[in-house]
Symmetry: C2
């Protein structure tokens, strides 16, 4: 299972449009920090911070080559988050279904 703190970090990282856009951009392959920052209207430093958040969440990996830092997308945490959400969702759905069934039965019993 995914530790709660890990899930926190993953979801927090994903809960920001800039960071989602960064991941989007990295989906087509590695890119350097400056390249990743280029489309945004904020400072390079701001993007650098966003990248750090993604890195802490292990959604992005960094490979340093000389002065260049190559960033790449890592699928692990997103897979884990998807799995968590999905199992939780299904679990809840079945619980709610059961409840509904129960209420329906109770209704049907009323003559």
């Amino acid at each position: 299972m995914t530790a709660p703190r890990t899930l926190d970090r993953t979801l927090t990282a994903l809960a920001d449009p800039t960071r989602r856009a960064i991941l989007q951009h990295l989906s087509s392959g590695e890119a350097r920090v400056t390249e990743v920052a280029q489309p945004f209207s904020m400072s390079l430093n701001a993007v650098s911070k966003h990248i750090l958040v993604l890195e802490r969440a292990k959604l992005v990996k960094r490979r340093k080559v000389g002065r260049d830092h190559y960033l790449s997308y890592r699928s692990g945490p997103l897979d884990a988050a998807a799995k968590w959400i999905d199992t939780t969702r299904h679990f809840w759905a079945s619980r709610l279904d059961t409840l509904e069934q129960l209420l329906r039965d109770e209704d049907a019993a009323k003559p």
Copy 2:
């Protein structure tokens, strides 16, 4: 499609263990604010605020009966988030696979 702001709110709401626990609790049916707050070691007011966050994200619906507020879980946003994550994930996976394929081909072409 889910509006970005909506997705932000959903993910932000989920990125907190207290709020996830609240949803967990609501999965077994409606509950009043005090009931929901009972298991936590924080003040009722703090929980009330968390509920508000869940409500803004439409993950929780409130039904007032006299002085009691009955809270219930709504599946919509979680379904949407799951769908978003999943399609994004698959899209990226295919992109990365394609890239890998490309590199493999290029490698194979080298005599």
